[in-house]
Structures are given as structure tokens and as C-alpha cells.
Symmetry: C2
Subunit: 182 residues, 2 copies
């Protein structure tokens, strides 16, 4: 680069994340982001090919972590799958709190939106299965969905110390699943 980088790229991401979380993806216009950053709307489209590219880049780290977790769960079953899934998902949901909140604030639009929010959908289903320990019994499936949904919502909403909240999420989710933590 010739001109000293002002770090605009990262500032755009920061503002976009903040606004997407607060008002949703559709509820945030490029002009909103530009105003918040303090640059022109055209600058956004210089750094990102389009609006969705901003969302995609914001979600990229979460997606990577999600795929890693997905791979780890692949060989597991039963109690091992459930406990691993719960523990790792808690860690992930806490670390990427804002991204997680952004994600489910736009679940309805996920279908319309491109690939940025489509992988998480199938990932969610595999997580539910892991939570259920592979069981297809209605009671286990419902418990799995409730545990996952509960962690999802609670991690995004609550403002508690990260470590404390993570441990509580894990313990409570395991209780929901009927698996007493060791």
C-alpha cells in the first residue's frame, strides 16, 4: 500500500458488527455504517465488494470454529458426543457472543441471504443430534433443542463474566439433557 493504512477496513467491520447486532442486518443500511465509521458509503464498497461481504467476513471466524467443532463431533456418539458438544459450544457461544446474537437476530433472513448464514443451519441440526447423544426419541430431541436454544439465547443476551457464564451454561445444559455433570 502507498498511503498509510488508516485501518478503515477493520473499523468498518467493528461498526458493522455493532450495528448489525443492534438493528439487524436488514435494519442497517450501508449509509448507517458509513456514518458510524465516519467515511463515505463509497468507501465501504471499496473495501468490500457488497453489503453481504461485510457480513460474511464478520462471520468467518465463527464459521471456522464451528467447522472445527463439527469435525470433532463426527466420530463421537452418546454421552461423549453430548458432553463434548455442550462444552465446546458453550466456549464458542461465549467467545463469539455478538456474532451469535447477530446470527439469530437474522435467522428469518438466513434463507434469503447468501452462503454467509446458510451453513450454520445444517450445523445447528448436527449440534442438536450431538446434544441428543444420537437419540431420536422425541423427549431427547426436545431436550436437545431446548438446551441448545437456551444456550444460544442466554449467551447472546446476558452480561455476566465470561468464565462464570460459560460454566453455568454447561452445567444447566447438561441438567436439561438429563446428564448429571461429573
Amino acid at each position: 500500500m502507498t498511503r498509510p493504512s488508516s485501518g478503515l477496513h477493520d473499523r468498518i467491520l467493528a461498526s458493522a458488527l455493532h450495528l448489525f447486532v443492534e438493528r439487524g442486518y436488514r435494519g442497517t443500511s450501508l449509509q448507517d455504517i458509513a456514518t458510524d465509521v465516519g467515511c463515505s458509503k463509497a468507501s465501504l464498497l471499496y473495501h468490500f465488494s457488497n453489503k453481504e461481504a461485510i457480513l460474511t467476513e464478520l462471520m468467518a471466524p465463527v464459521m471456522r470454529e464451528a467447522e472445527r467443532l463439527d469435525a470433532r463431533l463426527d466420530g463421537l456418539d452418546g454421552a461423549a458426543a453430548a458432553e463434548t458438544a455442550v462444552t465446546e459450544f458453550a466456549e464458542l457461544a461465549i467467545r463469539y457472543r455478538r456474532e451469535v446474537k447477530m446470527l439469530f437476530d437474522n435467522l428469518a433472513e438466513a434463507t434469503t441471504l447468501g452462503t454467509a448464514l446458510q451453513k450454520p443451519e445444517s450445523f445447528g441440526e448436527r449440534l442438536v443430534n450431538a446434544f441428543a447423544g444420537g437419540s431420536l426419541a422425541p423427549a431427547d430431541q426436545v431436550a436437545a433443542r431446548m438446551a441448545l436454544g437456551g444456550m444460544f439465547l442466554t449467551a447472546a443476551d446476558l452480561s455476566l463474566d465470561d468464565a462464570v457464564l460459560r460454566d453455568l451454561l454447561v452445567a444447566t445444559a447438561l441438567r436439561t439433557l438429563g446428564r448429571t455433570p461429573d
Copy 2:
């Protein structure tokens, strides 16, 4: 009325509910609804003063039930509050599945939107407190949020028999809260 009512009013509501659930409130334009109904966009605004009025009327029955539940919880505390809240909320969430799904699909926009989606916010907080049995301990608060969030998401997503799902929601939520059902 002079001309035999074509029931357009209700058909608009039905289409709007369907589309709001599928694509979100912001993701659904008046033209989308009009096309789905098979009438002109101007007809929508003949029957409803504006777009938000459609949403408000869709949410009206849920709001009434929510207020009734709210009143019932007012005098209760501890285990009685938790069990009543869980049981009644399960009933409500199941009966108004689609409206509930519509509600949390638009949580991020609730602040922007008018009164239609604002009452539920404070109602949610009171529900959490009831779920927690009045306790302010972090463990109880987290469990309450997870139980509520879990019911919320699971009632909206799953396609199970109503009665079966309702009983499972109640049993699982009580387990999450650490309250063994009688």
C-alpha cells in the same frame, strides 16, 4: 357492508402471518403480501392503516393472553411462580407457535418497531423472574433464561403433536430449573 365481504381482511392477515414468519417483518414488503393474497397493494392499505397495523393485529391475541398470564403471576413467588409460569407459557407458546416464531425473528427490530413488539420485552423479563422463582442468584437467572429461551425456540421450530410437545416442554423446562415435576 354493502358488497358481500370477500373476507379479504382475514386473507391479508393469513398471508402476512405466513410471510412474516418465513421472511421476517422487514423482509416482507406490502407488495409481497398483496401478491400472495392476490389483490393490489392499495387494498392492503384500505383494510389496514399501515404496515405495522397488520403486525399489531396479528399480535393482538398473543398480547391479550400474555397480559392474562402476567396478571396471574403477579401474586405468586417461589416454586408456585415457576411452575405456573412454565406450564402456562408452554400452553401459550404452543397455541401461538407461528406468532411466537414471528416475534423472536424480529427481536432486533423490536426497538425500532412501534408498540406492537415492545410490551413483550418487559413481559419476557417478568417471565424470567417467575421462572427463577424470584431468585436473583446467577445460577437461577441463567437457568431461567435458558429454560425460557429453550421453550421459545423449540415451540417455534419443531413440528410435533401439540399436546405431546407441550408436555415435553414443561417437563424439560422444570428439569432445567432444577425443579423435579411432581
